[in-house]
């Protein structure tokens, strides 16, 4: 055998993306993207909608062709994998499935393509909780059930690499927690897990490592913890006795204040200690001073220049 299966921590199955570029007509969807996905941990692929996550995933799986750059899985192009489904399990879209077949038949077809024992079909159906509806036509499935079937397909070949594009879409809180446990479990077994989302908060709970993109460009490749800590946009919710004096004091030390409209304000650009000291110096009473969850802020700050579609606010 050329390549042993990845028992825990044995073989470095790694996705290598190098200078990946993709145009759709005049639109640059993915722009010179370079990053690695390592085994044994969950790597989150984070970016706003329309930032090129799905296009990148499609190029990893050989469905879309890059205009420039390469992507390999353990050094091989996807097209050259000997047993694609046994090596890479992918969830690309919830409904890349013919609605007229039953869940079991759909999986059986995929299994046959890679000579996978049909017993695996019932194993993965059980794993994703679809055993009861295995004979039901897929067209009758809810969004969440379709998503679970897609995940069952990704797990069918017991692959060393798992790619899930927006897996929590359409899932209820129970399902979201299940995905989280599943991904951590797969990574714990030494597999390479690459999971995309536009939800920073979800990635913070699930991923160990982050690849952040915006408008098709790499913005950051970093451990989740560093990403949060490094963020400069730590913001604080403040309520004080004398708003105008407080605003003047904060602006004097180059902080930025915005009014929430409910009597509270949000201060950014200065740290907790500076806010407290400034208030004390002006003899302003502070009723509330709390650091805000900064994950979304950090994400927003990083990607704000690169959001493709933004609602008028």
């Amino acid at each position: 055998m050329r390549r042993p299966r990845p028992s825990v921590g044995k073989v470095a199955t790694v996705i290598e993306v190098r200078g990946l570029t993709k145009h759709f007509g005049s639109v640059l969807a993915v722009d010179d993207l370079t990053f690695d996905v390592a085994p044994g941990r969950v790597t989150g692929f984070l970016g706003p909608n329309g930032s090129g996550k799905t296009t990148t995933m499609s190029m990893i799986m050989g469905l879309n062709h890059p205009n420039a750059g390469t992507v390999t899985i353990s050094g091989q192009r996807y097209q050259d994998l000997r047993w694609p489904l046994r090596e890479v399990g992918g969830l690309l879209e919830a409904r890349a499935i013919h609605p007229g077949r039953s869940a079991r038949t759909h999986l059986a077809v995929l299994a046959r393509y890679n000579a996978i024992d049909l017993k695996r079909v019932d194993v993965v159906l059980d794993q994703v909780g679809l055993s009861d509806v295995a004979s039901k036509r897929v067209g009758k499935f809810s969004l969440g059930m379709g998503q679970r079937l897609g995940i069952a397909a990704a797990l069918l070949g017991d692959p060393a690499t798992v790619l899930l594009d927006e897996p929590v879409n359409g899932l209820d809180p129970e399902g979201i927690r299940w995905i989280r446990t599943l991904c951590k479990g797969l990574a714990g077994e030494g597999r390479t897990v690459f999971i995309s989302s536009h939800l920073m908060s979800e990635m913070a709970l699930t991923a160990d490592q982050l690849v952040v993109i915006g408008k098709g460009r790499l913005i950051a490749q970093t451990p989740v913890a560093d990403f949060v800590a490094r963020s400069s946009s730590q913001s604080f919710r403040v309520r004080v006795s004398d708003t105008s004096a407080f605003v003047a004091a904060i602006e004097a030390i180059d902080g930025v204040v915005s009014n929430n409209g409910d009597g509270s304000m949000v201060v950014t650009g200065v740290d907790l200690v500076a806010i407290g000291d400034a208030a004390l110096a002006k003899r302003v009473a502070v009723y509330e001073l709390a650091a805000q969850a900064s994950l979304e802020d950090a994400f927003m700050e990083l990607t704000s220049a690169s959001v493709e579609y933004r609602g008028a606010s």
């Binding site: 062709h65 097209q79 890479v88 013919h98 077949r101 039953s102 299940w178």
Partner: protein, 275 residues
């Protein structure tokens, strides 16, 4: 339907089998795929009704008004002119439905080599088309000829040319299925592909017939329906008396060439295009 139990380490340490996923696995998978959607059963039902049913109606008319100039085989097989369209539609849908539903992305992610997928579909379609075609041609003949028993139009298996018609008609049906598959592979879109198939098989023939003689002489022999007209008959159809036409066997080879070109170019575009 919810479960929170973490995935158990299953076969994570099992070695992968030798070789690689190829045509053998693909044919098995596509065979399962073919028989597990509803369009298969209703297309085959339409095919059977069209060929046998129309053949019976036509033969009945022949029995009540027998004429020596008629080729009884052509009357019995008249339904094949419509049945060929049904098998073509089945061929189209075998691949266009995958594009319509997004299933093609699942298929190509488990078998990224496009030629293997197209070849597997062509093999399944070819086998089904040939088996169904031969069953149909023999069934149509047996039923139709039984209706002619005792009349002067009666023919037998032993009648010269009959066995050729029976065998070649099945081949013709198989080739039309492959041409449908080829059109679907090229165009991806179900409605557009079926319209194209109808144009090529049914409408083009009518258009050419309305053209000047030069055009008719140059083009007629290449039209699938005209090739069919020579295949489903013992004698050459009257309207081809002064028009150059292929022999049935040459005609089938031309159809095979069409199928190969359509499938080949469709496959080439699948390799080049995004999915």
């Amino acid at each position: 339907m919810t479960t929170t139990t973490p995935i158990a380490p299953t076969a994570a340490t099992v070695e992968q089998p030798r070789g690689r996923a190829g045509l053998r696995q693909a044919v098995r998978a596509e065979w399962t795929k073919f028989w597990s959607v509803r369009s298969t059963s209703w297309s085959l039902f339409a095919l059977i009704v069209a060929t046998v049913g129309l053949g019976m109606l036509s033969t009945h008319a022949l029995r009540s008004q027998p004429g020596p100039a008629f080729d009884p085989i052509r009357r019995i097989f008249v339904g094949f002119n419509f049945g060929q369209f049904a098998i073509g539609v089945l061929g189209v849908l075998f691949i266009s439905a995958e594009y319509g539903t997004g299933q093609i992305r699942s298929t190509l992610s488990v078998m990224p080599r496009r030629p293997v997928v197209v070849a597997a579909k062509a093999i399944v379609m070819g086998i089904v088309g040939l088996v169904v075609g031969e069953i149909l041609s023999f069934a149509t003949f047996v039923v139709g000829d039984a209706m002619l028993a005792g009349s002067q139009s009666h023919v037998a298996f032993a009648t010269p040319g009959v066995l050729r018609v029976l065998i070649e008609s099945g081949v013709y049906i198989a080739l039309l299925g492959l041409i449908g598959l080829g059109i679907g592979t090229l165009l991806h879109n179900s409605a557009g592909s079926i319209a194209t198939l109808a144009g090529v098989v049914l409408i083009l023939t009518l258009i050419v017939q309305a053209m000047p003689t030069v055009v008719i002489d140059a083009v007629s022999r290449y039209l699938p329906a005209n090739i069919g007209a020579t295949v489903f008959a013992i004698s050459a159809p009257g309207r081809f008396q002064n028009v150059p036409i292929f022999s049935p066997l040459t005609g089938l080879l031309v159809l095979a060439l069409y199928a190969a070109v359509l499938l080949g170019s469709g496959c080439y575009l699948m390799i080049r295009r995004d999915t």
